[in-house]
């Protein structure tokens, strides 16, 4: 039971960190894009 929960926690860890990084990078790219549009 504890190993099952730990395995689930590991899955949350890698998926969670990946999800945060991908989302943050998308947001950063979005910011770069709108700042370029704003300059034109």
């Amino acid at each position: 039971m504890r190993t099952e929960t730990a395995a689930a926690a590991l899955e949350i860890m890698w998926k969670g960190m990946a999800g945060i990084f991908i989302t943050i990078i998308v947001i950063a790219l979005f910011v770069w894009l709108i700042s370029r549009i704003g300059k034109k």
Binding site: G16, I24, I27, I34
Partner: protein, 379 residues
Amino acid sequence: MDYLFQGIMSVTWQQLVMYGVGILLIWLAIRKGYEPSLLLPMGFGAILVNLPLSGVLDQTLQGGIQSSGIVEWLFSVGIDAAEAMPLLLFIGIGAMIDFGPLLSNPLMFLFGAGAQFGIFAAILLAALLGFSLNDAASIGIIGAADGPTSILVSQVLHSNYMGPIAVAAYSYMALVPIVQPFAIKLVTTKKERRIRMDYNPAAVSKKTRIIFPIGVTLIVGMVAPQSVGLVGFLMFGNLIRECGVLETLSQTAQTTLTNLITLLLGITISFSMRADQFVTPQTILIMLIGLFAFVMDTIGGVLLAKFMNLFLKKKINPMIGAAGISAFPMSSRVIQKMAMEEDPGNVILMHAAGANVSGQIASVIAGGLVISLATSLIH
């Protein structure tokens, strides 16, 4: 005369412990200045809800008369129903945040992400220590360094430990000036802490400031639908601030709304500080795991900066990574103070502020993802 002593005769030792906890929180708030707006109401509320047969909780009186308690009502309406209080507070927080230092320096976005590592390390630790997945996920979110997010996630996941989680989250946010320097010095050298950084911010147009909250809401809402409440209300507050046509509403959100919700939130949270739920061995474990989460957040952010320095010509002061936690603005000020101690005249505050506000967004994303992932894995 027995009716006068009914209360005193009913006191349990656990309730006595909670009186001590309440007084301790009040003392920390007043004497030490630790997050007084939350810890003082929580401390006082802990006393209220732990008085025997307390009228602030729902009771069945003699004769079968049902009595409703105000604290229990505030909890059921303000938190249990739809997490209203933490979400409304986020409108005020969003209205207070200036995303300018981040928008002008988008590289800082990454540190907000890196500094959420402690959440997941803490979830793993809690799981290894025997907590169920929903409780482990709720405990791990202490590492978000954000009170409303911690309260919301633990409520949505129906954690049994909302009281200790809230106390841990707010206590460690107040202890950032002690926890972070310790953790930073574990993984950095003096030479690294003395790195200077130029600050050449790009100009941020008003159009960018207005489009940003709308875009972030759309992006984060698509990725983590469970975070729409958190990110939506945060960005709604920010949009009110930046649009330029709602100055009165912006001021109201930053002051009146925030103060009103804060006034009620602490005393409402105390509903989860009843002795039977709080005075358990798990509470001490949760406090320790929470501390671990904050330390790992700091280390995660710093290590990300050090990793990036392997590829960058203009090095980043790795302490900036530690500023990626959501404890705004305290973390950025702590980092600046450390930089000045190592090298007087080294000003990295604006970089740290950028990372710090990025942490606010990243912690909300983390909260939504933790809810989504944990609920999909709970059997």
